[in-house]
Structures are given as C-alpha cells and as structure tokens.
Amino acid sequence: MTAAVLLGHGLVIASALFVIGLVGVLVRRNLLFQLLSIEIMLNAAGMAFVIAGARWGQADGQVMFIFILVMAAAEVAVGLALLLRVSRQVRDLDGDAVSAMRG
C-alpha cells in the first residue's frame, strides 16, 4: 500500500464524512442537529488536511487542522449562544420557526 493510494482513500473518506454532515444540515430542521452537522463537516475538512499533510510528511496539514479546530471552537460558542437565544425567544428549535426577522 503506497502513500498515494492511502491519500486517495483518506480523501474519499473525508469527503464522505463531509457529505454526511452536509446532508445533516440540509435534511434536519432542528438547529441543534444542524450545528452538530456543521461540526462533522468541519471535522471532515480538518481530516482532509491532516491526511494530505501525512502524505507529504509535512507538519502544515496539522497546523491547518489546529486552525480549523480554533474556528470550530469559536463557531460553536457563538452558535450555541444563538441557539439558546432562539430557544428562549421562540420556544422552539425549529429552523423554520425563525425564518421571519423583525426590526
């Protein structure tokens, strides 16, 4: 098993993981599940970086993974705060329930 084959398979797996997250965002209407799906998608993107970095033996892939990790942490903090806000205001976590904006 050469490293190039491993890279190809790893990228396919990361893409499949990304698509699973994308399907989750598109299919689910619950905001909590959509946030979870976004986490899965970010995770898949980071996985692609790490696999590519391992293929060429460079540390840059893991560095980019750390940046994705930081972004995911900031995103989930703001996203969950917004989620709590929405659940407090509309008493529901349905994404369609907050489709109308006011003010």
């Binding site: 909590l32 599940f33 033996g57 560095v63 942490a73």
Partner: protein, 168 residues
C-alpha cells in the same frame, strides 16, 4: 496498520451517519463523540499523534461537552426526569458502545504493537509547534483574535441582554 485505518474510518462514517439520523439529541451526541474518537484513531494510524490528541481534547472533550450543557439547559422542566430514565435503556448506549469497543480494540492493538509501526513517518508535536510558531505565527495571532471575538459574542448573546428589536 492499514486495516486499522480503514476500520476506524468505517466507524467514523457509520457513527456520523447514525448521528444525523437520530431523533433524540443525546443519542446523536453519543454517536458524534464516537465519530470524533474514530477520526482521532485515524490520525494516530496515519502518523499524526498531535492532531489525534487535539481531536480528543478539544473536539470530544470541550466542544461536545458544550453541546451536552446546552442540551441539558434546553431540557429543563418536568419532562427531564422522563428523559433521564431514557438514558438507562440499552437502545441508548448499545450502538455507540459497540462502535467505541471497536475503537478500544484498535487502541489495544496499536499499543501492544501487533500492527507494526505507523504508516509512513510520524509527524510529532515538535514539528507542528515549530511550524505553528515559525511561518504561521501571524495566523496564530489572527486565531487568537477570532477566539476573543467568539468569547465576546458568546458572552453577549448568552447574557440575556436585550437585543434591539427583540420582543422579550
């Protein structure tokens, strides 16, 4: 080691697919944790131990715990006791448990060295740290700004302060 890579990848994909198809938020969170742990095992097998450790510490350890806190806060009320009863049913933990056991078996194989070395040369924390604070030091500063902005935003949104135009 190749087998471990594909096995962990399969666990990650199955767990992610199960996570987005659950109706109960706690079921989904359990499956997401297993998926993240599986991705961490993938990182270990391809020779990125630092990324694998960060995956467990930050993703499974911090981000998912944040999700658990929020789900707990949303479940406040009389029906929370009924949901607590639901935690103890086998249907809740049997799926994630089996997938996690597969990962545990992989970890045992890795530690006991049956599977041989990692695929290719491992890139340790030293190389990552040198790259992070060498050519990428500006990006590290920008990431710290992003974290600060996320902190301020989450603190404001979570404080219950009245948003202009809000009706509550």
């Amino acid at each position: 080691m190749i087998v471990l890579f594909y096995l962990a990848s399969a666990v990650a994909l199955v767990a992610a697919a199960m996570a987005i198809s659950r109706r109960n938020a706690f079921h989904a969170l359990l499956y997401v944790v297993v998926s993240l742990l599986a991705v961490a095992v993938v990182f270990f097998t391809i020779g990125a131990p630092f990324a694998g450790a960060l995956e467990i510490i930050v993703y499974a350890g911090a981000i998912i715990v944040l999700f658990v806190f929020v789900v707990m806060m949303l479940n406040l009320g009389p029906n929370s006791v009924r949901i607590e009863d639901g935690f103890l049913t086998p249907a809740m933990w049997i799926g994630p448990g089996i997938l996690a056991l597969i990962l545990l078996a992989e970890l045992v194989v890795i530690i006991s060295g049956i599977g041989g070395g990692v695929t290719g040369a491992a890139i340790g924390p030293r190389e990552v740290g040198l790259a992070l604070f060498g050519p990428y030091v500006v990006a590290v500063e920008v990431a710290s700004f992003l974290l600060l902005a996320g902190l301020v935003g989450a603190a404001y949104l979570g404080s219950g302060a009245r948003v202009s135009g809000g009706d509550r």
